[in-house]
Symmetry: D2
Subunit: 274 residues, 4 copies
């Protein structure tokens, strides 16, 4: 019943400005949901780097359910991300939300994120398939793994081989968490494709109290990394504050993550490294 | 409980080249999943018009889960739709899949369809919000009614007041049907907004044996119309043949639909009318 | 992949003390969620009978999610139901929640209800399979149609051929309604088995504003009846008041139902009949 | 937001014939889906004990979706379990499926299992609430965590304080696995109650290839143990063979589990211990 997935059978690693996803390192991506200000992104970049994050995240173009919600700083946000890369040395991931924005986002980002709501936006998939930057493709909240792999195939068959998949929680009837992290997606994707896969416990649970447990679970299950929302002052964040960690909680998470990553035979950057 | 939906509180009707959706008439939209050939679309247009359909559907740009599936005829398909409009007199609805295609599709279509996979493609919503053609917005198979109404708000707040909503089935655990038609969505949408709402029993059930029952249910539940896939030879269709009706089955459905539509105090075009 | 369903292939009708379910009549079952008092059940029985209901419902043993919620009047409730049958002439349906209660409930009820939470309580299914009263088996809120039919098979293969199935809404991610009524279940069940099937729009939607639309939809889709919660004073009901209709709303629903039932070629009891 | 859960706020441990669940030990429960023969259960008990399992599982009364599937050996199965306890020294868990069977199962089992399909079988919950054996309550595949905690409250409020909860996968739209293990349930339950919680990766994934990853994830997420299906010859098992591990795969899983359990500060029985 499944159509061809010609391009994704070989095990691959993806290089993001010198950081390898899918190899021996367990890669932690961290940063705020949205770039809100120069101070917010620079201090966060410095804090997460010191705790061992390897890539900085931050949204400049925010796809929001309501047209009346904060939509992000746009290009100004991209410039701030680039400045944070300079000061921290961390490569940067940010979301691109439409084909027309691909060129602009490529000028600033080291890896392009395609968000869950756009997982089947085929025009966008084809557009990011034609650039020379790697892509992080998030699973739609009600998309099957099969559909995720076929969406990846749109990018790969357009010529871009640098695809990282991200499990970020699916929709279920359970309401104690915002979404239901499908932890089995990690071994299923590993069995069915050669692409690196990371887990987003922040969006996946929607609540900071549950982020650490799911982050540890992801490492144990064999994920190649995680993406975590961190904010200088989560209670004052302009979006998703309830699921963001403060700097101290992120540092504590990294301390708990290290022995688990070692236990499954992977490496993780030490605290304080650069 | 939710954020603003300023633009959609008043009961509205939408005019599609002289056909009013949301008024006393129960409007049947019919046609093939994809425009495949001149003969296919012209004969289908003629057949569905004679049975009482008021608008012709047909896909020229097809968003497909796999990049290796048939993607539609593109502009050639749009031209064939326009020809079918000339010969049948029926206005035409067809899907637009990215912002760059909006101008092109507007030159041929009488109402633009935004498909389920693009319901939260905000760049596309804003683009169709700026044109002077009405829009049919399909509910995402993973989207709540709340999110559907907020997606509509993107179009309405961009200046386009001609929005028709379409319930086309949501994803559930049940696998006897392709999706689960959420029949309650009809009264919920009617209560929470003033926008017209139609039901798509073809995609909703994914199987022609169940289309008629769900079509009748939609009429009884208070929907303003239905959209049904009809093909000259369903078993030979290039996409979605299993859920398409042949001409005779569509005519039989219309015969069963008439008394139900009358029973709820609506009107429906008689067979053979033009 | 499906195991045997030997017993349920023939189209059957079920006789409930003279009321036939699954034949030409569209049978309306109505009454309160729970039997609360003598006055409540007698006045409700009289009111629903006058509007055209054919069977009286009322819970005496209530399966409740919390052990601290009202659990029903028990045998006292059964006695009140029997008295209401005498005064109204309506047969009575009530739920049985464990094998030990089957004999007791059989002494009072005309048709035994197995609730959604007990759909796979096989000891109970076998127990009701051994009695000479018909059974109404409600679909579990997260059970497939396949599993519903196999649960029915437990009853049928135990020797009881009087089984009526009831679609009462399944669990989905949508939260505008309490459950999602799977209207397609009606034609799917009709195709795959010969058993009568009714719809419960009260539990299915969880909100009285949506009950009428879904009731009409059920009739149009080909259901053999509906089961509706009616209470003398819904806002004061001990359980499920928000989804219960008052007498006037029930009468109005019946008036809207009659032309739809006629439109699909079925009959419905006139108002005021006995 | 919910009703009372008076009895379950304190952190508790549950003693199963000398094995403590909910304390520092990470407890592995292993054994076949069903007790099939004397040889099968005795050899499995010996094998899993040697690899480090602390409790033996095995079904004697099997609730099956179809009445025509293998229903278990009944009391004969219970006797074989008791014999396996003698030879291996492992306490025994087995399912009880109706109130009438509680006394019988109590004579043989060290901890009673209430299965997912019976999570809201309140008569059964009350019956096991009145005995002096601990109970493992499995989450219904259609039940929220809230409902699971309230079901536990039925047992606790009946007087039995020895309740262990088990996450065993919920139903979602994803079909690559049989169910979707809700890994977040572990921290959510830990936050909302004091009861021990274990994970069943065998039923949760439905496929042996994914059992190890989810087992490791459960340990990392903070679960108090796991329950795993092990069979001498999975491809010849009478039920659930596809999700069962052979002895060698189980031993390998235990070897991978040890460092992860240590990494989160828990202990696990060494291989070869008794």
């Amino acid at each position: 019943m499944t159509t061809g997935r010609e391009a994704i059978q070989k095990r691959t690693t993806v290089d993001v400005r010198g950081v390898t996803i899918g190899g021996d390192d367990f890669v932690v991506i961290a940063g705020p949901c949205a770039v809100e200000s120069r101070d917010e992104i620079l201090t966060t970049a410095d804090a997460v780097r010191r705790s061992g994050a390897r890539i900085l995240r931050g949204g400049a173009f925010k796809p929001r359910t309501s047209p009346y919600s904060f939509q992000g700083l746009g290009e100004e946000g991209l410039k701030l991300l680039a400045e944070a890369r300079e000061t921290s040395g961390l490569p940067v991931v940010t979301e691109v939300t439409s084909p027309e924005l691909v060129d602009l986002v490529c000028r600033y980002a080291d890896i392009l994120q395609v968000g869950a709501r756009n997982m089947q936006n085929y025009a966008l998939l084809e557009a990011v398939g034609k650039v020379r930057k790697p892509v992080m493709l998030k699973r739609g909240m009600m998309s099957t793994i099969e559909e995720l792999l076929l969406a990846a195939e749109y990018i790969l068959s357009s010529g871009n081989t640098g695809v990282v998949l991200c499990e970020r929680g699916i929709r279920s009837f359970e309401k104690a968490t915002r979404y239901t992290v499908d932890i089995s997606a990690v071994p299923v994707i590993k069995k069915q494709s050669g692409l690196p896969v990371i887990v987003d416990p922040s969006h996946g649970t929607g609540h900071r109290d549950y982020v650490a447990s799911v982050a540890l679970a992801a490492a144990a299950a064999g994920a190649d990394g995680i993406m975590v929302e961190v904010h200088p002052s989560p209670d004052n964040a302009m979006s998703d504050g309830i699921q963001s960690l403060c700097f101290a909680d992120f540092a504590a998470l990294m301390d708990r993550l290290r022995p688990v990553v070692s236990a499954v035979g992977r490496r993780i950057a030490p605290a304080g490294s650069r």
